[in-house]
């Protein structure tokens, strides 16, 4: 998952980015002011935007309105140090999905970030199930028919992304965009290797199982369609 962090306080941004990368393993892009944030958000490759309100050049509320007026549906989590319910109500009405008052708890921020991403993909529960595969997004563990599959962080993130969009064809580019921050192009040659490893590990967990991921040549990957048993 890829997160855009718009926050002008450098040290706070450092900590938030480190926590989001370390904990749930998100790719994090950082923008130090509102205009840069608006620019990056325009790429449309984010699964969540974490937005500070008091920003230089373009404040958080304006950025949010611009985003929503473009029809961008990316979940937005607001960070605010402002007092008063009025501004919160106003922000939620303007299209924000959630807010956290400063100073916040990092654990809570990560949990809310995960929940917002999940909701953004139409899932209500942290346990993702498709075919015979179960992904626990809290423990970051994967099981196939109850058998634990050991995956590397990148392989897990690929699988999690596909599990969030079960019937969708996910292009290599989209996968790259959502798994890495803005230097993703450096990783483009290794993504195929990661998918291949992932497929091997998933299929070898059960000897007679169907392949989990199918490749649509020139278009991308998707989870194998469920067959009637």
């Amino acid at each position: 998952m890829r997160v855009l962090l718009v926050e002008d306080e450098v040290r706070l941004a450092d900590n938030l980015a480190a926590a989001l990368r370390d904990g749930p393993g998100f790719a994090v892009d950082w923008a130090a002011d509102g205009l840069a944030g608006d620019d990056l958000a325009g790429n449309g490759c984010y699964d969540l935007i974490v937005l500070d309100l008091m920003l230089p050049r373009l404040d958080g509320a304006c950025l949010l309105r611009r985003l929503r007026s473009r029809g961008d549906a990316t979940p937005v989590l607001i960070l605010t140090a402002k007092e008063g319910k009025d501004s919160i109500i106003e922000l939620l009405n303007a299209g924000a999905d959630d807010y956290l008052p400063k100073p916040f708890d990092l654990g809570e921020l990560i949990a809310r970030a995960k929940a917002l991403i999940r909701r953004g993909k139409g899932k209500a529960h942290p346990l993702l199930c498709a075919l015979d595969v179960t992904v626990n997004t809290l423990e970051q563990s994967v099981q196939r028919k109850g058998v634990l599959v050991d995956l590397s962080p990148t392989e897990y993130r690929i699988l999690e992304y596909l599990m969030h969009n079960p019937r969708k064809v996910v292009s290599k580019r989209e996968l790259l965009e959502h798994l890495y921050d803005y230097n993703w192009e450096h990783h483009s040659n290794v993504i195929e290797a990661h998918v291949s490893n992932l497929r091997k590990k998933m299929d070898s967990a059960l000897p007679d199982a169907l392949p989990v991921i199918e490749t649509l040549r020139g278009r991308g990957y998707r989870l194998t369609a469920e067959k009637e048993a």
Binding site: L12, F104, L106
Partner: protein, 469 residues
């Protein structure tokens, strides 16, 4: 209608008007007393003279050899309380009223009428002594004989005084009645007249910290006595509201800054605690936390400085004075390592001594904030020029850098608290956006001015003018 209290303007006005009325009533009383007394006694004297003449008319030829005169009282019809006697020039009493023993003076030769007061039968009488003459047998050869007589005539004065007092009493009663009627009338008129004042007071009473709305009634503007008060109230309220809004903004800005600083420390610690880490990682994390705490400490110190600088309008004790030239030299020395680190040359030009009306602490704070600001915005291999001089009785300090300059749109805001021209840059260079606000606070308090001239990509010059000590 409520009765006005003892200290109210209405009460005082009513009391003043009534006192004036009372005074004029007394004055009218005395004047009328004098006037009536003069009039009545004038008439009384005329009457006395007339009655004395009628007594004189009753003096007739006695038809004797000596050509004497006599008083014939048969035709005299005079008030029974009046008294009279008639003397001739030979000193004979010709006649006297029955109710009198006479004044006992006899004939006194005098040309003019003489009036005097005397007590007759226990009452006060006004007495006239009138001289007249009779010619006995005028048809005789030689023209008859001239006989001089003197009539003494008196009448009681009590009825005259009665008439005078009657008139004065009438005036007094009239005045008193007027007082009684005008008292409540004035009270009512004043109550009506003071209506705009009460309306204004009611509106002013509605103003509170949460509701600054104050629209004076039009009557308050139209009333010349109220207009200055209304204008004063309006401007005071406007100033107070501005101050309150400023204070509130400061508190909310300060809270925002402090919360962000706390959020940094908290997140640093939680990040460290997210998963088990190596000793080296913990150590690095702790160092970062310490640095974050140090920044929080600096922020609080700056806020307190700003509060101190902005709070005191009035300075206690002797007027402060310090040497700005030595402040410049000291600051240059202090900032030398920082300038070296940023590869910026600092050039100063200043007189040997330049005393300004600032405390030493404020002086160094001002100079170091300006120089630090210039250094932070100077790219490497450039110069910062600090120039101190005396112009028109003011100390003029200018600090010039060759930095990126300040956007004209941003320039008016740089002296605002927590304002950062380029926040991401200011954050990384450690500014909290308070430095220039502190400078402005110091300069304002000393009665000086601070302004900036800037050109994008060319640099910025901050100029401070301070009165000399």
């Amino acid at each position: 209608m409520k009765l006005p209290g003892r200290n109210s303007i209405a009460f005082r006005l009513i009391a003043a008007v009534l006192a004036v009325e009372l005074f004029s009533a007394v004055l009218v009383g005395f004047l009328s007393l004098g006037y009536e007394r003069h009039n009545h006694f004038h008439a009384f004297d005329t009457m006395l003279r007339g009655r004395a003449d009628s007594v004189l008319g009753a003096v007739q030829d006695a038809e004797d050899k000596a050509d004497n005169v006599m008083l014939d009282r048969a035709d005299l019809h005079l008030p029974h309380t009046d008294v009279y006697e008639v003397w001739d020039d030979a000193g004979h009493l010709l006649g006297r009223s029955d109710n009198w023993q006479g004044c006992g003076e006899g004939y006194t030769p005098q040309k003019h009428d003489v009036f005097k007061l005397a007590r007759v039968n226990g009452h006060e009488y006004r007495i006239i002594r009138r001289h007249g003459s009779r010619i006995v047998d005028p048809v005789k050869p030689g023209g008859g004989r001239l006989r001089r007589v003197m009539v003494v005539y008196g009448a009681p004065v009590a009825p005259v005084w009665q008439a005078i007092w009657g008139t004065v009493d009438f005036y007094a009663a009239g005045s008193l009645l007027l007082l009684l009627v005008t008292g409540p009338l004035i009270a009512w008129l004043l109550h009506r007249g003071l209506l705009p004042l009460r309306q204004l007071a009611a509106l002013a009473a509605d103003v509170s910290v949460d509701a600054w709305q104050f629209t004076p009634p039009p009557s308050a503007y139209r009333t010349p006595e109220l207009a200055p008060l209304t204008h004063a109230l309006e401007s005071v309220l406007a100033r107070l509201e501005r101050a309150f809004v400023q204070q509130r903004t400061f508190v909310s800005d300060a809270a925002h800054e402090l919360k962000t600083a706390v959020a940094v420390i908290k997140s640093s610690l939680q990040l460290l605690n997210l998963r088990p880490r190596s000793a080296a990682e913990y150590q690095a994390g702790l160092e970062r936390c310490l640095a974050d705490a140090q920044r929080l400490e600096d922020l609080v110190a700056k806020m307190l400085t700003l509060a101190r600088v902005e709070s005191g309008g009035v300075l206690n004790g002797p007027a402060p004075a310090s040497d700005l030239a030595s402040c410049v030299q000291d600051t240059q020395l202090q900032l030398a390592p920082f300038a070296e680190l940023r590869r910026v040359t600092v050039k100063t030009e200043s007189p040997a001594i330049c005393r300004v009306a600032l405390s030493g602490e404020d002086g160094s704070l001002l100079v170091s904030n300006l120089m630090l600001n210039a250094l932070q915005h100077s790219p490497g291999e450039t110069e910062v020029l600090v120039h101190l001089r005396v112009e028109d009785g003011n100390a003029v300090l200018s600090v010039e850098d060759r930095g990126e300059g300040i956007d004209p749109a941003v320039a008016p805001h740089v002296f605002e608290r927590f304002y950062r021209g380029d926040p991401s840059r200011a954050r990384t260079t450690g500014g909290a956006g308070l430095g220039l606000a502190i400078c402005k606070g110091i300069v304002d308090r000393a009665g000086g001015s601070i302004e900036l001239a800037s050109e994008l990509e060319r640099g910025t010059t901050m100029t401070v003018r301070l009165p000399l000590a």
